[in-house]
């Protein structure tokens, strides 16, 4: 039997060597052809209305094949791991917490949409962390949310800042997803790191935990099981969620949102698109990136992905315009710094928050 295995593996190896030789000359082809199809690699939260991507096909004759590859972190790792034989031509969904890793590993071509204006410059990444490679597409603030009704019933003033969360009057009222298993959980940790600094955040978290903060594994757990909001089961009125969560809690016909986001506690997650290094069709791929920034797609983003479009020309849906708030000064941590310290921060955090 062993011989059979050996033979089989030899045969397999031979096939690959042959296949490898056969396909290499193609890569060095001359002028770029227009492809029939581009592969858009993205994360599993990607969603647009039916027909939106067809507009790109109508304009260019190029079909778009969407491939999802796990969450934002898994997406970037997928690109890094498949660098030698890329999965597709365009990537969407790299966020500011993973941008540095993608750029550092050289998985992206230089291309940023020429349509960018000063209005969107705030979303551009620093040089070396994606300024030349990544076009901002959407953003969402991870903020502490509060249940207005709960606080009104109790006659307790709502918290406003991160400092408030460690005050005795808010003991046992706060729940957050964990930084080591949830992306909003990590974003909230980054907000506290930005606010209290490299040496101060550990102390803040110690106080937060001492004040009865509950750590859940996932966002769904924190939001649906422990939060007291209208669509939740729990009894804690303060939760880490998104700035876009309150608008979706407003029932039809209501004029007051039952929950709200605390805009002084936010960390901004911006998602980017870029051309994958090694694509045979960099020009066409660049056009698809530009298309994702176009008003057609940008208008379609909020209702489908629960995040804000970055394009200043995009129009927000009515409920969003009314109930969704954007933080004016969200906390910022440089992408390169996140990439360098992620493991250390998360490990230290776990020691404090989930002993």
């Amino acid at each position: 039997m062993q011989k059979t295995i050996k033979f089989a593996s030899l045969a397999l190896a031979a096939t690959f060597i042959l296949a490898g030789c056969a396909s290499s000359p193609e890569a060095a082809a001359g002028p770029e052809k227009t492809p029939d199809k581009l592969v858009l690699v993205t994360h599993d939260s990607f969603n647009l209305s039916e027909g939106t991507l067809d507009k790109f096909t109508d304009e260019t004759g190029i079909a778009v094949d969407v491939q999802a590859s796990g969450d934002a972190g898994e997406l970037v790792n997928t690109l890094v791991l498949t660098k030698d034989s890329p999965l597709g031509d365009v990537v969407f969904g790299i966020d500011n917490t993973f941008a540095s890793r993608a750029v550092g590993n050289g998985v992206l071509e230089d291309h940023v949409t020429p349509e960018l204006t000063d209005a969107e410059s705030q979303y551009l990444l620093p040089a070396g962390s994606g300024r030349e490679q990544l076009t901002p597409i959407d953003n969402g603030d991870v903020c502490v949310n509060v249940d207005h009704e709960w606080f009104a019933d109790k006659g307790l003033a709502e918290p406003v800042t991160l400092d408030d969360l460690v005050k005795p009057e808010y003991k046992d009222l706060f729940v957050t997803p964990a930084a080591n298993s949830s992306s909003p959980g990590l974003a909230f940790l980054l907000a506290t790191i930005a606010k209290y600094g490299d040496d101060g955040w550990q102390d803040y978290w110690t106080k937060l935990v001492a004040n009865g903060a509950k750590i859940d594994a996932s966002w769904s757990d924190a939001y649906y099981v422990d939060f007291s909001g209208p669509s939740s089961e729990g009894d804690r009125p303060i939760v880490v969620s998104y700035a876009s969560s309150p608008p979706v809690e407003v029932s039809e016909g209501e004029t007051v949102a039952p929950t709200g986001a605390l805009l002084d506690t936010c960390f901004r997650q911006t998602e980017y698109a870029g051309v994958i290094a090694g694509t045979e069709y960099p020009t066409a791929a660049g056009k698809l990136v530009d298309f994702l920034f176009s008003v057609d797609v940008q208008n379609d983003i909020p209702e489908n992905m629960y995040v804000f479009p970055v394009n200043a020309k995009a129009t927000l849906p009515e409920a969003w315009a009314k109930f969704a708030k954007i933080a004016e000064n969200p906390f910022v941590v440089e992408p390169a710094e996140i990439d360098a310290n992620r493991e250390a921060w998360v490990t230290d955090w776990a020691a404090i928050a989930t002993p």
Binding site: M1, T4, I5, A8, L12, F16, A19, G20, S23, T42, D44, S45, N47, S49, D65, V66, Q67, A68, S69, G70, D71, G73, E74, N77, T78, L81, S85, L87, A178, N180, S181, I215, D216, A217, S218, W219, S220, D221, Y223, Y224, V225, D226, P230, S231, E233, G234, D235, S241, S244, S245, V248, E249, S251, N304, Y306, R342, E343, V346, T354, P355
Partner: protein, 562 residues
């Protein structure tokens, strides 16, 4: 036992029969197809992924082993993984065996429905079960007074909840095929029920029990969502650490070391299980289930308690699925025809259900072909020690996918299957293949005990009478294992239907499966999405029960053949 011939004659007969030409080819094919399948779709991807960690630039770098394995944290992770999986396997087995007895040996109305219901937890998405358990257990919840939220005990409860079906079904199918006359004889000779069970039944059931327990151990050692959600992110296992290292930190060196550790643990467990799983004597019973009597009170009580335990989270889910903003109603189910509040989904939930069914059907077919051919080969008893070992090895290799991280396999697919003729990374066929990898071990573990139970003299007589090997296979082996094969199909189908880990990594956005859609819905704010996720889970459970019940009916239909 009365129809058994003496051992001596048995040997004599066997010696006289020469293996027919073609048998060797059949065995090589039978072993080769499953080996090629596991080799290509499991071993190769996993080895490639581990290679990225320990062969970073083509040069072997084993420094990671010394570094990672000496960290106190690693030792803790390994300890917790072993402790959690063994404890869960023991508890699940202790509770599952009485359930197997009641559901497969006693005759009462509704037992077929109960058999199908037991499998519900097995297909429910972990995130949904996590929510259901936590809704019950959280402080202020209906069971909050137990103070179990975020404890090790809560993880145990959930692991047992998920895996009771494995024990009940694996042991149950074996029990069904036991010859009841031995028990009768013991009873006539004056042994009490407990003694009959301990001295007559248990030894013969032991292989099936060990099989089931080892499968449960493997499932629990790679449990991921359950451990995080119910343990409140406090408890880390090898699996959660591999996930963190691979998906968050991209620390492939440390992840590879842990993957190897995971493999070593799995292989050790399989070796121990193989030792314990002493082959039963040739036996096949036709005894009909019996009416419950006072002597069965013990197992019936345990089964009732288990039923309540299994039902509680399920009932919680059903109630939650019926609660809408406007009170109780079917609103969440009606919404399944849509794409969710504010267009949360790419396709309506019903379409996802259709995808799930098609893909699970394909996965079941693959798992049956691979699992059956492997089982037929493994069930042969070659006299050469080397061949015997090779067959045990094949058995073990097929079990490995249960004990290795879905993250390692998932990323492994992406880096290994990237060249023609196996450039399958974006091919929809990978989804049923990944699901089949998990289902094959269940097929083998259900079918193999029955094949072992076939008296090899039946094959030999057929051969002596001039039947060619394929006819022996068809008329003896296959006709005698119809029931276990049907049981295995139902099981494989359920596993494929509920699989999420690998599926979420490989499924295409325009063709999501039901579990993928459920995860997406439950990850979005807004009451309707949450309600829809719960309703979709109830639908998933109901469909599974319906399919399993249907298969149970088929099994009744085949009684005549047997």
């Amino acid at each position: 036992m009365g129809d058994r011939l003496g051992g001596d004659r048995h040997t004599v007969t066997r010696d006289r029969v020469r293996p027919a030409p073609g048998t060797t080819i059949a065995v090589v094919l039978g072993a080769g197809v499953p080996l090629a399948f596991v080799g290509l779709f499991f071993l190769w991807p996993v080895v490639s992924m581990i290679g990225r960690g320990i062969l970073p630039d083509g040069a072997l770098d084993l420094s990671g082993f010394a570094d990672v394995l000496t960290r106190p944290r690693t030792l803790r992770l390994v300890g917790l993984t072993l402790g959690q999986a063994s404890l869960a396997a023991v508890i699940t087995t202790l509770l599952g065996v009485p359930v197997a007895h009641v559901l497969y040996r006693l005759r009462f109305r509704g037992r077929r429905v109960l058999r199908a219901l037991v499998i519900i937890p097995f297909v429910l998405p972990t995130v949904v079960v996590g929510v259901a358990f936590r809704t019950l257990l959280r402080e202020g919840g209906p069971l909050g007074f137990l103070h179990l939220d975020g404890t090790f005990a809560a993880i145990m409860l959930a692991l047992v909840f998920f895996n009771i079906a494995v024990v009940a079904r694996t042991v149950g199918s074996a029990w069904e095929n036991l010859d009841g006359r031995q028990e009768e004889a013991a009873r006539v000779l004056g042994a009490g029920p407990a003694r009959v069970f301990a001295t007559v039944t248990l030894p013969r059931l032991a292989p099936a029990i060990v099989s089931a327990a080892s499968v449960v151990f493997l499932f629990c050692s790679t449990a991921f969502g359950v451990v995080l959600v119910l343990g409140g992110a406090k408890f880390g296992t090898i699996e959660t650490e591999i996930y963190l290292l691979t998906t968050q930190f991209l620390d492939l060196r440390a992840a590879s070391v842990l993957s190897v550790t995971q493999l070593v643990v799995v292989v050790l467990v399989l070796l121990i299980a193989g030792r314990l799983r002493v082959r039963p004597g040739a036996e096949r019973g036709t005894s009909a289930p019996i009416r419950p009597t006072a002597a069965h009170t013990g197992t019936i009580v345990v089964t009732l308690l288990v039923a309540v335990f299994l039902a509680l989270p399920v009932v919680t889910l059903v109630l939650r699925s019926l609660s809408t903003k406007d009170g109780f109603g079917l609103g969440n189910y009606v919404a399944l025809g849509t794409t969710g509040t504010r267009n949360a989904l790419a396709v309506p939930v019903w379409v996802a259900l259709g995808n799930s069914l098609t893909i699970a059907l394909a996965a079941t077919a693959i798992a049956l072909v691979i699992g059956l051919s492997a089982s037929l080969v493994i069930s042969r008893r070659p006299r050469s020690l080397g061949l015997k070992r090779a067959l045990t090895g094949l058995d073990g290799v097929l079990m490995l996918p249960l004990g290795v991280s879905a993250v390692t396999v998932g990323f492994g697919f992406l880096i290994a299957l990237n060249q023609p003729p196996f450039d399958l990374r974006s091919s929809p066929i990978l989804v049923p293949i990944a699901q089949a990898l998990v289902a094959v071990p269940l097929v083998v573990r259900t079918v193999l005990p029955a094949l072992h139970g076939i008296d090899s003299r039946q094959r030999e007589s057929a051969a002596v009478l001039g039947a060619p090997p394929w006819r022996v296979l068809r008329d003896v082996d296959l006709s005698l294992i119809t029931r276990p094969v049907l049981a295995a199909s139902g099981f494989a189908f359920a596993v494929a239907l509920g699989e999420f880990g690998a599926t979420s990594f490989l499924s295409r956005p325009d063709r999501p499966t039901l579990p993928v859609v459920i995860y997406r819905l439950i990850g979005l704010p807004g009451g309707d999405n949450f309600g829809m996720a719960i309703a979709a889970s109830v639908v998933l459970a109901a469909i599974t029960v319906a399919v399993i019940a249907l298969v149970e009916r088929l099994r009744v239909g085949t009684m005549g053949v047997l």
